[in-house]
């Protein structure tokens, strides 16, 4: 009994000092002087712009990666082709890459002196140090989540119902919308939650490709760092609290939606 209490104390203490106290501390510092300073900091034009840009990039990343994720998952589970294992491994690749390396990689291809960047610039399309670069970086880092969540669900539900639908004369799209999609919806939803969390919070990759034009190519995470470097700690903490609240919301959604087999 004693050792059980000791273990509990060590585990809770570790978690408390590493996670809870620091996160709680930021909330405390932010609201120490009441709600108004916080409100003023997050309603500056720069902060609002950063907020909209972050949300927009996240929406694009979620839509693009959900369509890609479902298509790729169907390919990986329902089709047979050489190199399937390799494709599955390559889709997981963004999880193993440092965010800074992601940024560098995008610059090398889409920057003005990059492989495609020069040609794109001639067409008047600027990607790096501009809005599309931020979106590309966000899509890159959040790419694997929908695929990873949908693949096991798709494997689990099997093909009997799809075959039945197709035997009864449903077209492929009808089968997809009426049979496949409803059955994989939990996996898709959970994947979307993870994608959203990653997209809202990405810092390193976006930091490299954004060029940080304040009020134009600054996301919320970049705004936090910018305020910190400008010694505007109140501004940095306020923006952090907004991001932390979004994270807590995500966490709540995660617990609510976690697929049953993972809940254990």
């Amino acid at each position: 009994m004693k050792s059980r209490l000791a273990l509990r104390a060590v585990a809770l203490g570790y978690l408390g000092f590493l996670i809870l106290l620091p996160v709680g501390g930021v909330f405390w510092i932010t609201f120490r002087d009441g709600f108004m300073p916080f409100w003023e900091s997050i309603t500056t034009p720069e902060a609002l712009n950063a907020f909209y840009l972050t949300v927009f990039a996240a929406v694009v990343a979620v839509v693009a990666n959900t369509v890609f994720g479902v298509a790729a998952a169907i390919m990986l589970v329902r089709r047979r082709f050489p190199g399937k294992q390799l494709l599955s491994a390559l889709i997981d690749l963004p999880l193993a890459v440092s965010p800074v390396v992601v940024g560098l990689a995008l610059i090398l291809v889409y920057g003005t002196y990059g492989w495609f960047g020069g040609w794109l610039a001639e067409q008047g399309i600027l990607i790096i140090f501009s809005f599309p670069g931020i979106i590309l970086a966000t899509v890159f880092v959040s790419l694997p989540f929908v695929v990873r969540e949908v693949v096991p669900v798709l494997r689990e539900v099997g093909t009997e119902q799809e075959q039945a639908a197709s035997t009864l004369g449903a077209s492929s799209w009808q089968t997809f919308w009426r049979v496949t999609l409803p059955s994989i919806r939990p996996g898709v939803t959970y994947g979307i939650v993870l994608t959203t969390a990653k997209a809202l919070g990405e810092f390193g990759a976006v930091s490299v490709v954004s060029g940080r034009i304040i009020g134009r190519t600054e996301t919320l995470t970049l705004h936090v760092e910018d305020r910190f470097q400008a010694f505007d700690l109140a501004g940095a903490y306020a923006a952090s609290v907004v991001l932390a609240v979004l994270a807590l919301g995500t966490l709540f959604a995660m617990n609510l939606l976690k697929p049953k087999e993972e809940k254990a």
């Binding site: 996670i19 809870l20 620091p22 996160v23 089709r79 193993a96 492929s172 390193g204 995660m254």
Partner: protein
Amino acid sequence: MSTARSSSRSPGRSGLGGIFGGEALQRGTVLMYLSLIVLIPLAAVVWTSGEEGWSGFWAAITAPEGMAALRLTFGAAFVVTAINAVAGTLIAWVLVRDSFWGQGIFNSVIDLPFALPTIVAGLTLLALYGPGSPVGIDIAYAPVAVVVALLFVSLPFVVRAVQPVLEELDTEMEEAAASLGASRFTIFRRIILPTLMPAILGGSGLTFARSLGEFGAVVLVTGNIAFETQVASVYIFGQIEGGDIPAASAVSVVLLAFSLLALIGLNVVQGRWTRHEE
């Protein structure tokens, strides 16, 4: 069951043949998307790192500042992986075998580092353990800050790997061992630990890979002091801003290679374990 499944997987039988513009178009679109966003850019990093030949690559990663950054990164990653293996197993144990009020919240908090943006994680650590710390602990701008920041972001990996295995584990064997007179420590070492080992190693591989590349959580708390607190990702960032792209690419390739190695090693371990279980 297995025969029904394998035959039903053959192309065109699932009833989804025509969606996303048919199979060939679907495959082409998926591959193109992945190539344009992930594969070609990463290939460009590898290509650029080799542009000045092997000697250029070697010179870039052995440049004193880069070498110091790599050494700190790998050192910190090893320390963090070791601490995480022990602390993660312990936390998973408390979550599964213990029961107390507020355990549900305790369990949800584990996922917080996944959801919290890394720059916010860094700022929160700096607020509590930086200059002017309300608790009187100031570790900012020292190598130990790197370790603490990495422990924060990698907390869930080992816990979430070990937890389900521990939940499945029957207590019968432990009870049998205890009735035969084995001490608690012996039971843990001889019965529980061997079963948990693959999961611990799997979680540790993820921790190591993540630690090598982490940027956001580290950048604020370390203060970016060359030769002292500068990790590889921050060094790469500096080289990109300074325009030394070949050097940035060379160090990037080192990080990329070792992250992949850690993740592939993890797959091998887990694959072997699954086969063993069957």
